[in-house]
Amino acid sequence: MFEEEKRNLVQRKNSIGLVEVSKDKLHSAVQSGFEKAKKERVLKRTKLIKRSSWSIVIAAILLISFITSVSVSPVFANKVASIPGMERIVGLIQQDRGLTAAVENDFYQPLNLSQEKNGMTVTLDGVIADKKGMVIFYSVQSKKKNQPLEIEYLKLMNEKYGNLPVYDTTFWGAEPPIIEEKVFSSMMTLETIENHIVGNSNLLWTIGLKNGNKVEQFQIPFKFTKSSVFSKTIDLNKEIMIEGQRIIVEKVTINPIRAEVKLKIDPNNSKKILSFDNLKFTNDIGDEWILNNNGTSFRSLDETEWTITLQSPYFNNSDNLKLVFGKIAAIDKDDDFILIDTESKNFLKQPAKSIFSNLEIENSKVSFIMDVNGEYNMLVSSSFLDNEGKEFFIKYDFTNPKPGEKYVNGLLMKTAEKGLKLEFELPKESIKNPLRFDLAYYPSWIEEDVEIEVK
């Protein structure tokens, strides 16, 4: 039966077998896939911090790697050639279509201000500024090759050393970066609270470099030109349904540096939405603007309002723009927490198809494993509640404690099986079982082909 069909299929196979391809191309395709995986493994480390810290701010510049082969547009290449110090910046922004376009459109303001101390030179290369935020590019150079330096802190203040109403959305995660290259370049991203304008054009940029046990402070005052371009705000108020979950896209605000999407989540949804990792803008000529490399997102306390920052399609070469959702992490509301009984040493509650396991309680230390399979996202909230509603935060090595909260020490480790192990001490004061952790992330997805025309 079906002899003809089978013959056709075999013939087809033979034809495709004749297609030639160079061994080199195959080899390098495998190689670059491998490198991508290696790189991401390191990046995930920093993502972890985002999930586990309640602070608004997060993380990830440090590992934007230094790209070896740079492919850029001619306009961009010209800019690079004409601005001193620009070549250092290329590698930092080339994965960000929005920032690259901002440079092409003359938003980069070169500064080249340096300060030298004890064989270390810090250079403020330049800034990109719009009404909503600023990206500061800097380089650190050490006279000694491979002198390990760590960045202890980075700050932007006004001239009178006052704090600015800005969020620093730059930063690295678990460990501050160690600078071992002879020249290390990076960038710092700042965003203002709504309706504020960054700075008053006279600012003071500060970096603390740790050399051995000593922290050396560098301060560079600078002036910049305030941006005169206005944000593009597009009110949408469009309702979408993804697997029965109602989401309203309220508006999109686009500035040259970043774009912001405001979403409202229906509180009556049956699922709790945990993350919009795959949100992006696209246009009909195939350009994509993805989550800002650290995927900063702000949520209102009741988690019904989300503000998500994306790369900016401010300079869009097409007259159309779409917002695409992709896979969304979401879990049934009945399933969005775990309960731990420290007496019976059991999970009283965990999601269906749970990836929590190995609960151990010994010497007033609790530990369990989250089988995240190499995707090192923190699954649980940074605090737990006992049965009387007392809240305890877990203080990891990288936690900046908030005043007025109760903390217990904790530790987060990778396991040999690509899982995460969370260990924390039980509070000294008496607590009532069970302990409740809310889920911050879980590999459970909803997905539907939903696109919204932005303009």
Partner: protein
């Protein structure tokens, strides 16, 4: 080195073993990708993406003997996603553009008929008649009795025939 040992090493996180394996399968994977995507650029991108996904999920390889089919599975999933995302017309254009590789007119018809199948049917036919995976092994892979696989394979061939015939009718009009 014995492949099974290499796979075991790769599962344990040995990068060199992983790369050796990937390089030994890159050409086979390329053919698979090409059979779905029909052009070099996309097929190479598929290799890159599959290498990336394979590395990410190495730990999920349960049975080293089936490593190759495991890779093919990742590749098929990837290609199907790509096809779904790209527009139908684009694909047909691609099919036309590779017609040069074969003198046989039926090639185009086969491709079109394949596009009409469900993912599952297409995968079955692909595994059996492109990758030459034994029915016994397909059964293990899908954890389904051999008899069932045979029945479904028949159904898939029938669907393919229906695809040809439909095409024929259109032509007659």
């Amino acid at each position: 080195m014995n492949e099974k040992i290499l796979v075991k090493k790769a599962i344990k996180g040995d990068d060199e073993a992983f790369l050796t394996l990937m390089h030994s399968y890159e050409e086979a994977l390329y053919r698979t990708a090409f059979s779905y995507l029909k052009n070099e650029g996309d097929a190479l991108e598929a290799i890159q993406e599959v290498t990336y996904r394979a590395y990410r999920s190495m730990k999920t390889v349960k049975e080293p003997t089936y490593f190759k089919t495991w890779l093919i599975r990742i590749m098929m999933n990837y290609c199907q996603d790509v096809i779904k995302k790209s527009k139908r017309e684009v694909l047909e254009e691609r099919i036309l553009s590779i017609q040069g590789i074969t003198e046989d007119y039926t090639f185009l018809e086969v491709e079109e008929a394949l596009l009409k199948l469900s993912d599952y049917e297409r995968e079955l036919l692909h595994l059996k008649y492109f990758e030459d995976v034994k029915i016994k092994d397909i059964a293990v892979m899908w954890n389904t009795p051999e008899g069932t696989i045979k029945t479904r394979l028949h159904k898939a061939l029938r669907a393919l025939r229906a695809g040809f015939e439909e095409k024929g009718e259109v032509k007659r009009v």
